[in-house]
Amino acid sequence: MPLTPGTLLPCFFHRLLACLGTLLLSASATQADPASADAWQSALNLDYNAAAATLETQYRADTESPRIAIAYATSLLVRDPTTSQNVVEAQRILESLLTRLAADETAHRPVAIYLLGRIAHDHVEPARLDVAKSRYVQLRQDYPNHPLAEQSAVHLAYIVSLHEPPRDPRQGIAAVENLLADTNSPSARRELHFLIAHLHWHGRGDAAAALPHYIAGREIGFEAPYRNSEVDLTIAGLADELGRDELAAQHYMAFVEAQPRDGRAQTARRLADEARARLAEQP
């Protein structure tokens, strides 16, 4: 619209107001950022009540922010005391967020779907496994390359193999193997390998079937402290039972080298020596 002398003054005031508005918004945004950072830091420090208090204020001030909505809903799940009302409120916030976000939104929608799956899986009593499964499947279908979709595969695997165990454990194992075939992220594949190994060994007592999966998980590498070493011992112990002395010695020694101050180190070293001695005796 062309500017005329009659519209100049109102236009000036509009622009002035717009500028002031922008300034106020940026001021509030710069104030909100440290508050958000504080809330995140509180949550990372496991101080969920402090995080929830800050996020509640932010959420009330701006219910449209998907990032704050997700964070607030998450904090409601873990703030003390844990109440079913908080869980219901978290669910409501996330479902409302899902209806608002466009289907092609990729930043927050997958997180909201994932959390709704997790709520149905582990935060309500009794668990709503049907809902959890449908959310995990939805996430895997809608966002096949999303990291949380890969994590959903692990949660699904737990449901189909252990939460709702089939009569024949091999069916559960087959279902997990199918999920593994469709999973790409190393961290999710590692967990699926470990679960398959567990199902073979603890469920069926089949060391030979379990061993390759323990090894595959170990080759990807675990991130939790000491878990690589514990799995080294498991691999070594099963290999020992199967008469695979070289493999046993290799993993016993991997444990010794990683944990020389562990109370089991000398025994592991002795068992490695014994395995090597058996190897040396072989023609």
Partner: protein, 526 residues
Amino acid sequence: MNAARFRNRLAVLVLVVVFAVSAWHVGGRLFRAAKQDIVEIQIGHWLLHTGMREAFDAAIAGYQKLHPNVRITQIPVPVRSYAAWSRTQLAGETAPDITGMLSLNEELISRNFLPLTPWLDRPNPYNVGTDLEGMPWRDTFIDGLSAMANLTPTSGEVCGVTLQLNSLRLFYNRELLREITGSDKAPANFAELKEIGQQIMDYSARTGRRLVPIAGCGPYARQLFNTLLPSQTQRLTLTISPNRNLRVTSLELASMMLDGRVNYDTPEIRSTLNLMRDASAMLTPGFTQHQRDEAIHSYLQQNAVMLFAGSWDYAVLAQDGAFTTGMMPLPLPSADDPEYGRFTLGPVSEAAGYPEAMLGIVRNSRHQDVALDFLHYLTSRATAAEFSRISLRISSIIGTPPPPDGSNLKPRLEGELPGFTTDFGWFAADLSSNFFQREIHTAIGHKADVPAFAAKLNAELPRYLRDDISRHLTQIRRDTRRLDAQVVFHFTLPEDDPNHTSWTRHAEVQHMRQLENLHYRRHTTP
């Protein structure tokens, strides 16, 4: 009337004096704090055993000499009230700058203590000129601070350092032992210990002097059984460890018992009860009702020839005993022991011992830099050696000389895996352990009846095991839910944040918890 007025004036005068003294006290502190060149920090701990406060005093004096602008005050709190005290101080944000971590869970530690991880890979500046110069601070600790890392598995941060290592030792009165047995040579194995025990009882009967072989009390007897009994399950551990990882946890043992795979009739497990019977015969009669101080008093009064206690007790024995105290690791059954040898693998490794005196810096300390510098100083080669010499305890800093005459306090690094205990001590809600302890009288004393005790345990323990597993899994499920928050809050950090990628580690820990819950939940519904 005059008397009444006088009383009123006296009351007012007292109030004025009290107010003036308080104002002087508070004002003085504020004035000192306001002086920019004086920095005051406090260190709160529960380490009141003989020699510890003196060792802290010496370290503080040494540090203040190097840094005249720093004032450090110790706040020693009795161990019995320390847990409540420290939690109150942390909640009120009034905790000392450096606060001892006793009975604190991961949430309290992560919430209140500053992660030291960024400094652990850098050298301790106070080690310049020593053999530890240039070595990462973390690697100067005997256990590489793994004990500290175990306290905060979720965050993966290390929020404190340890000063000392504890070990459990059999202390003995050299002179009295020589008088009774003709030698002060320490027994090499359990059979020799039993023989000495018999000699002491014979001597006591012969001379009329009321002597017991080992001064016992409830808490230290449990430690003794925890050290001795696993010798019988060393070999069994190799074959029944469910994860084949050379370890059987209480949860795994409970599960195997409920599955009927083992029970108290299993030869190795029955043997732990027999060993408990034999060991308890050497302890003070009625030891389960005694406390630590009574056992130490009995030993110092020479009413007992030996005392099984912690390395933390050595200072009081060395300083207050009118005799020479020797020490050794508890003698275990040797492989050639006719009764107990067949189940053992040999001496047990004490590896890194039991780290203790864990100290961290609280997040709201106004002088975190000074507190960190003091922790560096406290754990440096020279200070650690002096601390060890004064406190008569083993330092957690590698290569630090043991205290005078205390070389046997050092953990034995060489040795085989420990087996497992069969009393379920410190498992879940302690319901199984409490039942075991309530019924233990059947297996010890003059009328010891181990088969009856085993039968009772086989019949009645399972329901307590189920309850303990149920309590344990409740905690596991809570962890699983809380880990959702860690996954989401880490995942939603900006991608360039160094903590962002650790969401997968939290997801991994969550899967471990899920698996544990799903694997063992079958035991919670009979």
